[in-house]
């Protein structure tokens, strides 16, 4: 691994997940040395444990956060708005793997859906056609099944229930993917052994993550200076308003300064705006790159919910790939259903420990224990759909509460939009019909989990007054500052975000390399 001097003005990437890890690999592959600051430790695949709470405590971002707003999370999990990872590889180390693409109209949500009260809709400054070649590259990198010649994963028990229900309900567009886990050996990594532990880190390395692909390949170039346990706290700038360094806390809590010629922030959609807000200065009084006032706003977390259905016969949903089952029929935009945008249905499974905590938070008594008693005969699916950006759904600094380093903790405020609620209700009803079609004897509507999909808090916009970054993820206000994670999503679309984050990062790397060569940055 290379070492870059602290006073050498470097390309500094903050975060090593889907955005940061991909950007680091793509830039080093083009011969550009980079420093990656990763807040979490360097966990390896062999460190992971097949145990829900133990793995959660090992991997999750547990630094204190606060919540407000009418979302149920603020009541049930007031200090855990998001369920994401703090470790090398970021949240790609616990994601499930579904990789649908965004649809053409989802890049043009404002002009397709029209004006919706309370929603801060905006078209993306890019189109599907522009991103399509990068979707190809991302799918090939990640080994998505069902595309580019990759075999589909086999059906596990949970999928067999799900797909039969889909077929009987008249759905057509279901399959075991696309899903970024190997059905057969690919890219130097083995086929899935269907161990059922996706959210706990994949010990077998069959699932794509930046931990198994981009980080080691960037290291192999000799151009990566990866610094785990390095938590960025401020981006500083020079007299001309260009970013010139990143201040970060090392493992021992000592403040370090890394000089920078370019900074790319990929810290996930809560920490990214937190860092920009913490970087306020007399020249940028509302936070770095925030002349639009949009930093931290338009926080999106997808409209989600789960249904766990009980049957008379065994399902054993815990055996096998957790989310290798996708139904796309409801992912269309059809206002006749009573809401704008669409949603996917995807298989999901939890063990008893997590099912107890998340299936109906706050519940007890016989109604609750029946859910657990039926565990072996239970099938589960997850609703994941587009949620609408709202200016008031927002990450701010909580000035009344500080973390162990004395920094203000982020507060996440969220209210469901009426559109989100209508979509969730539709999804619940369809899911119950699906399971009834294959003989379910009861079903539990489970509310959204702490957010795994976090988007929109530094959004992309054509005009600098509408958003934080341009179509390359480059800050409108600071020429050598980039955002490289899901924060840049102008709208959320229905699809799981990881594929799109990776595609955007590959595209951004080309742009950065080109601009550095031509003096454009």
């Amino acid at each position: 691994m290379s070492t870059i001097e602290h006073d050498e003005a470097a390309i500094v990437i903050i975060g090593s997940g889907a955005g940061g890890g991909t950007l680091a690999y793509e830039l080093t592959a083009k011969g550009l040395p980079v420093v990656v600051l990763e807040a979490g430790p360097y966990l390896r695949n062999e460190d992971y444990v097949n145990d829900e709470w133990e793995a959660f405590n090992q991997m999750a971002w547990l630094d204190p956060r606060t919540t407000s707003g009418s979302w149920r999370i603020a009541r049930d999990f007031p200090n855990l708005p998001a369920w994401i990872v703090k470790a090398v590889g970021g949240t790609t180390t616990h994601w499930s793997g579904a990789t649908p693409r965004f649809k053409a109209h989802e890049f043009a949500a404002r002009s397709t859906y029209g004006r919706i009260d309370g929603a801060n809709l905006l078209d993306w400054p890019i189109t599907l056609a522009e991103l399509a070649p990068y979707y190809d590259k991302a799918e090939i990198a990640m080994g998505s099944t069902h595309v580019h010649g990759r075999k589909p994963l086999p059906a596990n028990n949970n999928y067999t229930v799900f797909a039969n229900g889909a077929e009987r309900l008249g759905y057509k567009f279901y399959s075991t993917g696309p899903y970024a886990t190997n059905a057969e050996e690919y890219d130097g990594r083995p086929a899935s052994i269907q161990d059922g532990f996706n959210f706990q880190g994949d010990k077998n390395k069959s699932k794509w993550s930046t931990l198994v692909r981009e980080i080691p390949r960037a290291e192999a170039t000799g151009l990566l200076d990866l610094r785990p346990d390095s938590h960025a706290v401020q981006i500083t700038h020079d007299a001309s308003g260009r970013a010139d360094a990143v201040l970060y806390l090392d493992k021992d809590g000592n403040l370090q300064r890394q000089a920078a010629r370019l900074v790319a922030v990929a810290a996930n959609s809560i920490e990214t705006p937190r860092l920009l807000l913490q970087s306020a200065s007399p020249m940028f009084p509302d936070g770095l790159a925030n002349s639009s006032g949009q930093v931290g706003r338009n926080y999106m977390r997808h409209t989600t919910g789960s249904v766990y259905a009980r049957f008379n016969d065994p399902v054993r949903m815990h055996r096998g790939e957790t989310m290798a089952g996708v139904i796309a029929d409801e992912s269309r935009h059809d206002p006749d259903r009573g809401f704008a945008g669409g949603y996917f249905l995807e298989t999901i499974s939890l063990g008893p420990a997590f099912l107890a905590s998340f299936s109906d938070p706050g519940a007890w008594g016989r109604g609750f224990t029946e859910i657990l008693e039926a565990y072996a005969n239970t099938a589960g699916l997850w609703i994941v759909g587009e949620d609408l950006p709202q200016e008031s759904n927002r990450v701010t600094l909580n000035t009344t509460l500080s973390d162990k380093n004395g920094l203000p903790v982020p507060n996440v405020h969220f209210d469901d939009h009426a559109n989100d609620i209508a979509m969730r209700e539709h999804g619940y009803a369809q899911a119950e019909l699906l399971y009834e079609a294959v003989g379910s004897v009861g079903a539990q509507r489970t509310p959204p989990y702490p957010s795994t999909h976090n988007m929109g808090t530094s959004r992309m916009s054509a005009r600098s007054e509408d958003g934080v970054v341009d179509k390359w993820g480059r800050a409108h206000d600071v020429p050598n500052l980039f955002i490289s994670d899901g924060s840049v999503f102008t709208t959320s679309a229905a699809a799981n975000p990881t594929l799109t984050i990776v595609a955007l990062a590959i595209r951004q790397a080309e742009y950065i390399a080109d601009q550095l060569k031509t003096g454009g940055i």
Partner: protein, 197 residues
């Protein structure tokens, strides 16, 4: 939260053996699993007692709560049947006392091999080679399902024809000046009326 120092005698509050036995009964009434033996409930009660040891506030809440429970039960909570016990717990379910028991039980009762086996969950699997050869696809009461993408005659209609502005989707064919792409009030305010209620 520490109990106010003004009442130091409260910090001396201790939980008796009898209190432990009431607690075990409370957990079983609140989380009834006929198939569970006593051991998981006892283990959970002991976890709650340990947690209470580390927090004066919880210890006080727990001690006082268990005493009050006996008053509500008209003597001894343990003598109530499941139905009557549940009624008493419903009356106190919003208290800090019950919330502490409920949270700690949910987090711990189901996080142990002793109940996983009973529920049909098999625990860690990687060391056993996953389920690839151990029944990940052994469901036999439904037909085999298609795993490939649909390749029939139908296309997914991404934007329903009923969507009034569908024709400008993507916008590439429309001059930029005619597109309504921002969050500013625009000429298409009348669209999506059903959403503006």
């Amino acid at each position: 939260m520490a109990f106010p120092a003004k009442y130091p005698q409260m910090n001396a509050t201790e939980l008796t053996d009898e209190a432990r036995r009431v607690l075990i009964r409370v957990i079983r009434v609140a989380f009834p699993h006929p198939s569970f033996p006593d051991a998981p409930y006892e283990r959970t009660a002991d976890t709650i007692l340990r947690e209470a040891e580390s927090s004066t506030w919880f210890r006080v809440a727990l001690t006082q709560g268990l005493i009050t429970l006996s008053h509500l039960a008209g003597g001894d909570f343990r003598t109530l049947n499941d139905e009557d016990g549940t009624k008493v717990l419903r009356r106190i379910e919003t208290t800090e006392f019950f919330g502490f028991i409920r949270r700690t039980t949910v987090l711990n009762l189901y996080d142990n091999e002793d109940v996983w086996k009973i529920l049909g969950y098999e625990g860690p699997s990687f060391d056993k080679g996953g389920y690839i050869n151990r029944g990940f696809n052994d469901l036999d009461w439904l037909p085999e399902a298609r795993i490939e993408s649909y390749d029939g005659p139908e296309q997914l209609i991404e934007v329903a024809t009923s969507a009034s502005v569908a024709k400008i989707r993507g916008g590439e064919n429309t001059p930029a000046t005619e597109r309504d792409t921002s969050n500013q009030p625009g000429k298409r305010d009348a669209t999506m009326m059903e959403m503006t209620k």
